[in-house]
């Protein structure tokens, strides 16, 4: 192997350029598959980020029994804060709550407050956020049992719908990524197999002249790596460009969807795509070759 390494490299190089159609076909197949895989990955990551945010916006409204005095209310706040799974607790005095309700009906002509007078019918409340959005229901049920809690409201139906939608989105995106990954593996393997197939006589002949399997394999492998790397680099280049322009153009328009800008994470995505390309290039070659090496 090491003795011949220089030869293997040169061999891979000339073979790549002499079998140009095969090289181009393999590179473009790899590039397209990796590109689509990358698009799907970025899409999924961003969608997940978005639904994470939707979920983490969920809050439990805890209305306080109007019979509680200020100290007791504060105690309830402490109790809420110390409940396991609770991330944050915000106190909303009844006046604030009325103001919020008013907003909905505000007009220049008169205010809800005027109608209600000093007799604000709303109770004090706490807005509670869970560490794990999925624990909202469980936590709400726990809180309901606490003394001094008049009522708990967490938009049961809405939350359930949201969770079933986000669950669906997560499942679908997982399935899609798996499906695309499987398809990419298969399509790349098929292309390489066809490329190797059209060189089967060459392989047969090398065996007849006394070449060992590994002597034949090495240049093919190097070709596989090179094709895999070049293909996925092209795909990654396109991804970087496309995602970059997306970040620039869409970010402002739809500010509330937080596109992933974290360059560490993106780099991770890109590197794993690159690795996938190279591995597929080699693995595809390995399996395709073995079939024709048995002479």
């Amino acid at each position: 192997m090491f003795k011949n390494f220089g030869y293997f490299i040169r061999e891979a190089g000339t073979s790549l350029s002499r079998n140009r159609l095969l090289s181009i076909a393999t590179i473009s197949t790899i590039a397209i598959c990796i590109f689509i895989l990358g698009v799907a990955l970025l899409l999924t990551l961003n969608a997940n980020r978005f639904i994470d945010q939707l979920e983490s916006d969920l809050e439990i409204m805890v209305f306080v029994d109007q019979e509680l005095d200020e100290d007791e209310t504060a105690d309830l706040g402490d109790l809420l804060e110390s409940t396991p799974g609770v991330q944050s607790v915000e106190f909303i005095p009844r006046d604030k709550a009325l103001e919020g309700l008013e907003d909905k009906f505000r007009s220049e002509k008169y205010t809800l407050r005027d109608t209600v007078g000093k007799d604000n019918p709303l109770p004090d409340s706490f807005s509670v956020k869970a560490e794990q959005p999925h624990e909202v229901v469980k936590i709400a049920q726990e809180i309901e049992k606490m003394p001094g809690v008049y009522k708990v409201n967490y938009g049961k139906e809405m939350v359930e719908r949201l969770f079933s939608v986000t669950k669906l989105v997560r499942i679908i995106s997982m399935v899609l990524i798996l499906l695309l990954a499987f398809a990419a593996v298969f399509l790349i393997a098929t292309t390489i197999r066809l490329a190797v197939f059209s060189r089967r006589k060459e392989i047969y002949l090398m065996k007849l002249v006394g070449a060992t399997d590994w002597f034949i394999r090495w240049p093919f492998f190097l070709e596989g790596i090179i094709l895999g790397l070049v293909g996925s680099l092209i795909a990654i280049g396109l991804l970087v460009l496309a995602y970059g322009s997306l970040l620039q153009n869409i970010q402002n328009a739809i500010f509330f969807i937080p596109l992933i800008e974290d360059s560490k994470m993106l780099t991770g995505v890109y590197l794993s795509l690159l690795g996938t390309g190279a591995v597929l290039g080699v693995a595809g070659t390995w399996f395709s070759l073995n079939r024709f090496l048995d002479v």
Partner: protein
């Protein structure tokens, strides 16, 4: 004894009996012609020697090794002891003349230095001077055949097997090739040559094994008149 066929029969998967109970022995340094009509089984003998095919019955020993029982991983090393000119040339189409010949040297682990020296030598021997960088598709039939010959002799093999090496060559070039083979044989290499060219065999007074329909019908050191 360097090559031994013991009661070898070969039936191809489609049922064709190509060889039928063939036995012969070759001594180291012998020169043997394999003759016989088209379809007699000459190429099959050669394929069996190379282990390109496996005999249906019988045993083959080359350098005292059983070709039939050989392990898979030994095969490449075993093949390197032989240089073969194939009837259909079997050149690498994507490699130039030099590269085709150099490939056979790389396979046996020759160094760059040695390759650079030896390849032009054999190219000259077969009369292909100046065609080093041509691809097989850019050569005439006879030129391709000579590339095959050059590749077979480049490693100075222990056994040289030539299947119809002059089928596409004119008589003068053929004579030249025969001289080359005789030289190689004189240097100690065992040579087996399948051929139809009576005029090459006639005056050689070498051993001639004649096959017909898969059987050896004569095996003698004789002038052509007797052999066919």
């Amino acid at each position: 004894m360097i090559v031994q066929f013991y009661n070898v029969s070969k039936t191809y998967p489609n049922g064709v009996k190509a060889l039928n109970d063939v036995s012969f022995k070759l001594d180291q340094g012998e020169f043997v012609f394999l003759m016989g009509p088209s379809g007699a089984g000459k190429s099959t003998v050669i394929k069996l020697m190379l282990r390109e095919e496996i005999p249906t019955r019988g045993q083959i020993f080359i350098e005292s090794r059983s070709v039939v029982r050989m392990q898979k991983k030994e095969i490449p090393f075993f093949r390197r002891s032989m240089g073969v000119v194939f009837q259909d040339f079997k050149l690498l189409e994507n490699k130039t003349v030099s590269e085709n010949i150099a490939f056979a040297m790389r396979v046996v682990g020759a160094g760059n230095q040695e390759i650079r020296q030896r390849v032009p030598q054999v190219i000259k021997m077969v009369g292909l001077d100046g065609k080093n960088d041509r691809f097989p598709s850019q050569l005439s039939g006879g030129e391709q055949q000579r590339v095959g010959i050059a590749r077979a002799i480049v490693n100075r093999p222990l056994i040289l097997i030539a299947d119809e090496p002059t089928g596409n060559l004119d008589i003068d070039t053929s004579m030249g090739i025969m001289e080359l083979l005789y030289d190689i044989n004189r240097a100690g290499t065992t040579v087996i040559m399948a051929t139809h060219a009576r005029e090459l065999v006639k005056d050689s007074y070498k051993r001639v094994i004649t096959l017909d329909q898969g059987r050896i019908i004569s095996d003698n050191e004789a002038a052509i008149g007797d052999a066919i």
